[in-house]
Every structure is written in C-alpha cells, then in structure tokens.
Symmetry: C2
Subunit: 89 residues, 2 copies
C-alpha cells in the first residue's frame, strides 16, 4: 500500500508532460526458505513473453535490474514502448 | 531506480523477522494514448498464471489493487505464499 502510494505520487510529479509509453514491472519476493534457487530470472522471461502478447516490445528497450539480498529479492523491468503502440488493438 | 531503492529499504526495516513467503508484483503503465482500453486486467490474469507454474498460489491469498489515473495506471498484486512452498522444486 505504501509502495503504491509512493509510486503514484512519484509518477504524478515527474512524467505528466512526457508523452512516452512506459511499462514498469516490479516483482519482490520475501523468501522464508533461502536455500532454494530463485525462480525470478525465469519468471522475468515469462512475464516479458506475456507482455509481448499485448504490446510490441523491442528487447533493446527493456532494462532489467535484479537485486538479491539475504531473505528477499527484487526484479525490476523497465520497458519503453514504441510510439506506434496506439495503432495496435 | 528510486522506486527500487524505496522498496528495498522498506523491506529491510519491517519484515526481517517474519518468515513468511510473500510475492508482490507491481505493474505501472504510463500511457500516451489514453483512449485505448487498458490491458492490465488481462495482464494480471496471465501473470498470475505464470507465477502458478512456479509456486502453489491459493487465489484467496491474492489481493489486487488497481488504480487508474489520467495518463497512468498501476496494478498491484500481493500474494501470500503457502508455508509448504519449500517442498516444491
């Protein structure tokens, strides 16, 4: 909830006059079992595949951040969408 | 980047001693074309389907927030994962 509020307020301030389609995906995982391998890297591929069903994503327009700490990990995808987007269904 | 930093610091403070598996997904879309229908609701279903390939998600453990403003929209999924998770591959 706090995260969402923060996000919305930061959006409102900075980007109102930038007519750029942008998609940001954040996946955060609090892990109780630290010994298991992370599935976020695979999840990233699959989420991108899902998004590409809806919008034309140039993979060079995708930037990925992945941070792993002791008991949590965060995957962040930033996607700049092409300007031709509005011609799509 | 600012969002990621905020997220990581808020995680670190509050949840270090809670051994609960939790997955949070945030999808934010800055839209240039406001007249097109949003695809985030469908995206939500598909992302959940992808996640369920990796972990056993009880749909009653999923809470969804969706906020739509003039030129941006945010979809937030909060998933409490079952404790039996560590028995999975």
């Amino acid at each position: 909830m706090g995260l969402l509020d923060y996000f919305i307020s930061s959006r409102s301030k900075g980007t109102a006059n930038v007519a750029k389609e942008r998609l940001q995906i954040l996946v955060a995982h609090d892990r109780a079992a630290r010994d298991r391998p992370s599935y976020l890297p695979q999840l990233q591929e699959e989420i991108l595949a899902v998004i590409r069903k809806y919008v034309d994503v140039d993979l060079s327009s995708v930037s990925v951040n992945y941070e792993q700490e002791d008991s949590h990990e965060v995957l962040e995808l930033n996607i700049i969408l092409p300007d031709t987007l509005q011609n799509q269904a």
